[in-house]
């Protein structure tokens, strides 16, 4: 039954992380956390999670490294082009009717989606009246997002995605190649605020017209999904839009009734007018 001891150790580690660093992973899907902790054990050269817990509590630079294992930053520019195409062709015509706009990318990781939206808004002439919030729990990810530099070998995929999303310009207009990386134009983040925010423990901070929270809820268990969706529901204006990942759904949450399917195939929901 050694496995069940590992489960106990993981619970204790997550409690310790919460008490000491105020990051709450206790409601995350454990199978995924456990896999990533196994990788962290190899990285830290620890034999047990208890040993890892001791390192994290006693060595100042250990926790930021562990945090990168506990959070997942994997995305692409214009990931799931059909999602962005629907935003462009069906959601933006609604948003265009507002004099000013707020968009929240919840769980923005390294910022790929923020840059995607910024490029799309520029192409659609909505950049100047829109404020984009990119939030994440991982400060290292936020730094990368602010820097906006991505590995050059990812650019062909990003370019293809951008075209498939209905892009009206050339992606190469927005970055300069340097040192094996592609650095995106700083002017894209003129109306972007990157900030530390947790869907698990933080509160509403602004009224949003669109929230894009993709492939974040899948790492949460059901109670935590309910909490996060409630927070997003409260943050949205009436008839505001919520975009989820390609295989995420509100159906299993307590707040499904507060939304209607706006574009079912790409998981874009609209908050009901009476909510």
């Amino acid at each position: 039954m050694t496995d069940r001891i590992v489960d106990l150790e993981i619970r204790l580690l997550l409690e310790a992380v919460f008490e000491q660093f105020h990051y709450d992973f206790r409601g995350y899907s454990m199978a995924s956390i456990k896999r990533r902790l196994h990788q962290a054990l190899a990285h830290f050269r620890c034999d047990t999670v208890s040993e890892l817990q001791s390192r994290v509590l006693h060595e100042a630079d250990a926790f930021p490294q562990l945090l990168s294992y506990l959070t997942v930053q994997v995305s692409e520019l214009f990931r799931d082009p059909a999602y962005f195409k629907t935003l462009r062709e069906q959601v933006l015509p609604h948003l265009r009717t507002y004099p000013s706009l707020k968009i929240w990318v919840a769980g923005c990781g390294d910022g790929e989606e923020v840059y995607s939206l910024a490029i799309m808004l520029r192409e659609e002439g909505l950049e100047d009246r829109t404020l984009i919030y990119g939030t994440d729990v991982n400060p290292r990810a936020l730094k990368k997002a602010e820097a906006g530099v991505y590995a050059a070998d990812r650019i062909p995929l990003f370019t293809r995605n951008h075209q498939l999303s209905g892009g009206k310009s050339s992606l190469s207009d927005y970055y300069t190649a340097a040192y094996g990386g592609a650095a995106f134009d700083k002017s894209l983040t003129r109306n972007v605020v990157f900030s530390d925010h947790s869907l698990v423990s933080d509160a509403v901070f602004a009224e949003m017209h669109l929230i894009s929270c993709r492939n974040v809820l899948i790492y949460f268990d059901r109670p935590l999904q309910n909490r996060a969706v409630e927070l997003m529901k409260q943050s949205l204006i009436r008839r505001g839009f919520l975009g989820l990942g390609a295989r995420e759904t509100l159906r299993f949450t307590e707040h499904a009734e507060a939304f209607t399917d706006f574009a079912r195939d790409v998981r874009i929901y609209q908050k009901r007018g009476d909510q």
């Binding site: 496995d3 489960d7 899907s29 454990m30 199978a31 995924s32 456990k34 896999r35 990533r36 997942v72 994997v74 492939n215 809820l217 899948i218 790492y219 268990d221 059901r222 999904q225 990942g245 390609a246 295989r247 995420e248 759904t249 299993f252």
Partner: protein, 193 residues
């Protein structure tokens, strides 16, 4: 010590997968009690029609796996394209868009490793045809957890590399033809202890 009876089946396949899986599924009888979790490698932008395709070949319910859903007996779950499929220890499914493992998302290893952790000795793991080595590590984990590893006979497999790699990592695995795998599952899935 008596062995726990089997509670779930995980299957991984790559090149040649559809033919192999549609050979096994029609043989599973109504009332088959084990859940079957399947990972098939597909190109990431492939439109997922696998559940429909498999459903046309079996009377057991087939569905694309959804995040946080409970695993029901006698149901066939297929991993969605571009997501890993994981099993939680409380018997629910979860999805993840973590980085591909050995270039694959969904990854057979990820399903097998998490299922081994959840089901321990009550799991049957089956590696079918394929042209890479995904599933080899996972099958070994199933063996380590006391479960039952099975590999499609490389002689019969359309692409023998994946079964061969699985056997190299997990020599204790039973080698069976697709027919034998179906027979084995019928016996295991009909048994109530």
């Amino acid at each position: 010590m008596s062995r726990r009876s089997h509670e779930a089946v995980v299957i991984g396949a790559s090149s040649g997968a559809i033919e192999a899986i549609t050979t096994i599924l029609p043989r599973l009888p109504e009332g088959f009690r084990l859940p079957v979790l399947i990972v098939v490698h597909l190109p990431p932008d492939h439109l997922s029609t696998l559940p429909e395709l498999f459903q046309s070949r079996t009377s057991l319910p087939v569905k694309e796996a959804e995040d946080t859903e409970p695993i029901h007996p006698g149901t066939i779950y297929v991993a969605p394209p571009d997501y890993h499929l994981l099993v939680e220890i409380e018997g629910t499914l979860s999805l993840s868009s973590e980085e591909p493992v050995q270039y694959s998302r969904p990854s057979i290893d990820v399903l097998f490793e998490t299922a081994a952790d959840a089901y321990e000795s009550a799991l049957i793991g089956i590696v079918l045809t394929g042209a890479n080595s995904d599933g080899a590590n996972g099958l070994r984990e199933i063996w380590n957890a006391g479960g039952t590893p099975v590999v499609q006979s490389p002689d019969e497999a359309q692409a023998p590399l994946m079964p061969e790699a699985a056997l190299a990592h997990c020599p204790a695995a039973q080698v069976m033809t697709l027919n034998q795998i179906a027979e084995f599952l019928i016996v295991e899935g009909g048994r109530h202890d």
